[in-house]
Symmetry: C2
Subunit: 243 residues, 2 copies
DNA sequence: ACAAAAGTGTTGCCAATACACCCATGC
DNA sequence: GCATGGGTGTATTGGCAACACTTTTGT
């Protein structure tokens, strides 16, 4: 296994880098909203530790040997996300969350994890279960199904922080558009805000917010209507992606 | 140098962890405000790469061998901060910023750095230069002295992100109190906001913000006054730390 | 007295909220 | 027609910016 020694040890001269290193993983909190319910993707662990427990999808950052550097951290997250969801890279919003490095957070040894969170549009969510990766991945209702204490490692803490981040950023960024289909009605967008924030919004006032976004050019009217069984609703789309 | 091979290679059984690992460092963007000027602490690099360049203070996360786990990530940042500034731990505000993991960011090999930012009160800033650590650390004016292109590694990018973070959080958090002495006048606190945001604030309106903070119990009047050569100003202190 | 800075009052603007109300549509 | 949910109008509140104004002090 000499070939498996660290890149630092393979270097000709001893240097600052020539010390024990932690393992580094990326873990991803993948959210979606289906049926007005916030869901998070969890995978069942097939190996100890925490065998049988549910955990956040993730994996080790690939680091090359010798002169090879391996993949960018962001690329590791993108790769894991694609592997675990089966969704093409670029179709899912991904953002770095926080890095968790408590010395004892993994019983196997020193593992530092860089956590990301991802937002999957509801129209893509059904394709995730039964995705390419064999590992049994499943959407869990954050409010009614996830048992924080039953999650592996410190993943409950990571999930908490991801929730907090999304709840905070939805008010002053455009991340809500990552949780609706490409075109959406005001009610659909409002439902996203309501589910994330856990409170009701006045439909009339929410509509005004939306109108401001139209005048600001953030969203535009889209062709078609939503047939709801009652009066159909206008649909809009986010202006940025499609220009 | 066989003893210096990575902990992963020394592990008896092959496992998920038994792969090449990146080196992990913490880098800290240490800010202070002196003479109404935002300053950042930089250290001169004594070794290649980037020898002679200025860089953010930082260092490797200590990871034990075998069963030893080493220090928490947060502890590594706290330790580096204390080493580089000479200030006692706990006297400086410290918060994780972002993790930078581009594969080619360090010419020596694969190094992932977890960046933090720190806020040093101006009354402590003079003790930092000529601190305990031998490395020549110096305060640089962010606006007028720092040459982003001259910084080592991707430290210009890290500095940028730290600036953005502080500028964003000063509006809705209490971090401004980490950049004034324990007691402060309204003008002093206002100067902090003005320097960070790079714009002027109306003294009258700023006073009102301050009054709201008094009624909300965030700050309290402190004994003493600021002698400015003109009319002395009342001084206040942040309520949280001292109760 | 005068300059400079602390501190107050007043006004207008903009968002967010609450709530009454109109409108279009499928049944 | 009528219930349902989409969509509009209006009043109120609170924060923030602008700016004229008063107060307090050292020189």
């Amino acid at each position: 296994m000499a070939t498996k020694r660290s890149a630092a040890a393979a270097r000709p001269r001893s240097s600052e880098l020539d010390y024990p290193r932690p393992a580094v993983t990326v873990d991803i909190v993948v959210f979606t909203i289906v049926d007005a319910d916030l869901k998070v993707l969890l995978v069942e662990r097939g190996l100890p530790p925490f065998e049988g427990c549910w955990a956040l999808p993730g994996g080790f950052v690939r680091v090359g040997e010798g002169g090879e550097r391996g993949e960018d951290l962001e690329a590791a997250a993108t790769r894991e996300l694609a592997e675990e969801t089966g969704l093409p890279a670029g179709s899912v919003y991904l953002e770095q969350l926080y890095t968790f490095g408590a010395a004892e957070r993994d019983p196997r040894g020193r593992v530092i994890t860089v956590a990301y969170y991802a937002l999957v549009r509801p129209d893509l969510a059904p394709f995730v279960e039964g995705g390419s990766d064999a590992s049994a991945a499943r959407w869990w209702s954050v409010a009614s199904e996830v048992q924080p204490s039953a999650l592996a490692f410190d993943h409950a803490l990571i999930l908490d922080m991801a929730l907090e981040r999304v709840r905070g950023k939805i008010d002053y960024t455009n991340i809500a558009f990552e949780l609706v289909p490409p075109t959406f009605s005001t009610a659909e967008l409002r439902a996203v805000h309501e589910v994330v924030k856990g409170r009701a919004y006045d439909p009339a006032n929410f509509r005004r917010r939306l109108r401001r976004m139209i005048t600001d050019g953030v969203i535009v009217e889209a062709p078609g209507k939503r047939i709801t069984g009652r009066r159909p609703a206008k649909v809009y789309r986010f202006a940025r992606p499609q220009g």
